[in-house]
Symmetry: C2
Subunit: 363 residues, 2 copies
């Protein structure tokens, strides 16, 4: 048994960490961290420092502790391949947390392996954060007797969808490209995406104008202008490096049709933002319909599903799911605490390790 | 003064007629007719017979009567040009209703002209049914003190959108092609359109399948399967000439991805229909956003608009307008009677003639 179980979710854009205490199947969160860390900007050295900081902040190394890791940062193009990314990150964790009782890595089939096995088959742990969430959702599904769940997590950058049937994860994709094929991953979120990857035209003074493909504006500008997020929630870099005030977001959006804030007024920009927002929902809707068409082809009754939404873009998920025909939706915050919900894969990773070490069985 | 004012709305797919009595600015509907008449199938001879039937059914020729005509049937490809269509229809009306006190034709600028003028400039009366509706809406706008209206009429085949600012029609397009350019006409409705003109793919067993471009299924099949219309409301021809039962609609939709009812179950077809329905709303949304972007560029406050919905596809209009950011919507049925709403341009044409002949001024 350990005093603390540390869960790490090492993403390309965000680092999340949770320290859990665990006894008799009961958990308590000792501390959690959520830190914006764009690895393609800050680099490996900075990741090393941050992982050291997390250890210092969350772990009392005079007691026994164990670590559970899930990662997606290996997708970053600072690594030549995913394998290189997984290896680099794993070695970093192994070295920084060498004094831990155990270090486990979550695989895409929802189990835990040690570093030795990771290095034999690195792809098995690449982009496995969804599998950690899925593992936790299976438990919650059973606990709450929900039967079938459609889990949808919309973050700053991507949307993850996990169908859970009879309280078992029922995905078709296990790697990122597979998930992109099956609609279980949609590369759209509410902060970081280049708007020009979501729309190819915008309404402009009674016409539609094609858009520049430059990285002039990001989805955060759209959600800010429409009032869905505050500028404090706009935590990522902006496209032009300027601030996150309404005026600055408006200026960035005005560049989409190669105009500027002198050519387009605030109210005109709101209409452009409204259009983009709608097209973003459609992308998620399209993925949901693909998944529904699969589930229904397997004779699974779609009317029995409860949608569980998560992430800072939950409000998008609610709307997209409604359009797709789901009638019941709850937020993960209503099932777990908001603190857990904000660091879900990290929490799940820590809990997986706690149960493995304490010998608890899965329900 | 006449005893009866007959309004005719001679469409390509539908004939609508209203007989009004009018005195001291008060109208009473004596009778109305709404008849499915696909001119490209039934031909000119049949149109002649139907116009004679309408006369017999609605007009007592022993009293004085006058006729107001609006048309869209000239668009049908049984005519080589719109001019040929307008001329043919006008001559038919002139001959059948030769005993009327007066025969007037509604122009795209909302005025009335006689046959002589029609023949000098036929395009002026082509596709002018929206202008008749617009004329009536200006009056209702003033009467109800609404200020700004966005009128949206979704019929069996097309969607017409008319912005009304300070109770005056404020369109940019006056001909069909102009309206298609400006988003004031969207060639989509809830019965007749070929589904393959709305979507180019459908969700199929967990994938997206491209669709056949054959006229295998019509929008009526989609709305029937989703329960938005009953099979009695499915008044137009079906794609395969079979009936309008749920089973027959399902069979037609199954052909979109070149499958059949043995390969796709009912629940799978529902998901396909849901997808198509959503894409249809998006088409209307896109047009609305174009119009909004124009209005806002003219410094017109979009928040002051009341949406007025009309047509058998009103429910689509409500959803599309909500997405486009309009917050107030009422049905034309709440302003006028449902009987009038069902034959709006015909009613408006009759009223225009009544007021012209009785010398009443426009408000």
């Amino acid at each position: 048994m350990c005093t603390v179980y540390l869960g790490l979710d090492i993403g390309g854009a965000n680092l999340k960490a949770v320290a859990l205490s665990y006894s008799d199947g009961k958990t308590r969160i000792v501390g959690s961290i959520r830190r914006y860390h764009p690895i393609w900007i800050r680099g490996i050295e900075s990741l090393k420092l941050e992982l050291e900081n997390i250890k210092r902040e969350l772990v009392d190394t005079s007691s026994r502790y164990a670590v559970g890791v899930t990662m997606t940062a290996e997708l970053s193009d600072i690594f030549r391949t995913k394998t290189e990314g997984v290896e680099t990150i794993t070695k970093l964790v192994e070295s920084i947390y060498s004094d831990a009782t155990a270090r486990y890595y979550v695989t895409v089939d929802g189990s835990l392996v040690e570093a030795e096995k990771v290095l034999l088959d690195p792809i098995k742990v690449a982009a496995a954060n969804w599998a950690a969430s899925g593992w936790l959702l299976e438990r919650e599904c059973s606990r709450l007797n929900l039967g079938n769940i459609l889990f949808i997590d919309i973050g700053s950058t991507t949307t993850t969808i996990i169908p859970i049937v009879n309280c078992r994860v029922r995905v078709r994709g296990y790697t990122d490209p597979e998930k992109l094929v099956y609609g279980e991953l949609v590369y759209t979120g509410i902060l970081r995406g280049n708007v020009a990857t979501v729309v190819d035209r915008v309404p402009y003074k009674g016409y539609y104008a094609r858009v520049s493909s430059e990285r002039f504006a990001l989805m955060g500008d759209v959600h800010l202008v429409l009032g869905y997020i505050s500028n404090k929630e706009y935590t990522t870099e902006t496209a032009d490096g300027r601030g996150t005030s309404l005026e600055e977001a408006v200026a960035r959006l005005s560049r989409l049709p190669c105009a500027d804030q002198n050519m387009l007024g605030f109210r005109e920009i709101v209409e452009i933002a409204r259009y983009i927002y709608e097209k973003q929902i459609e992308r998620i809707f399209d993925a949901l319909m693909q998944i529904r068409s699969w589930l229904v082809s397997q004779n699974i009754d779609l009317d029995t599903f409860t949608v569980v939404t998560a992430g800072i873009g939950e409000y998008l998920a609610v709307e997209a799911c409604k359009r797709a025909g789901f009638t019941k939706a709850i937020s993960i915050d209503e099932i777990l605490s908001a603190e857990i919900a904000g660091v879900l894969p990290a929490y799940a990773s820590a809990l997986m390790v706690a149960e493995k070490i304490s010998g608890a069985r899965r329900p």
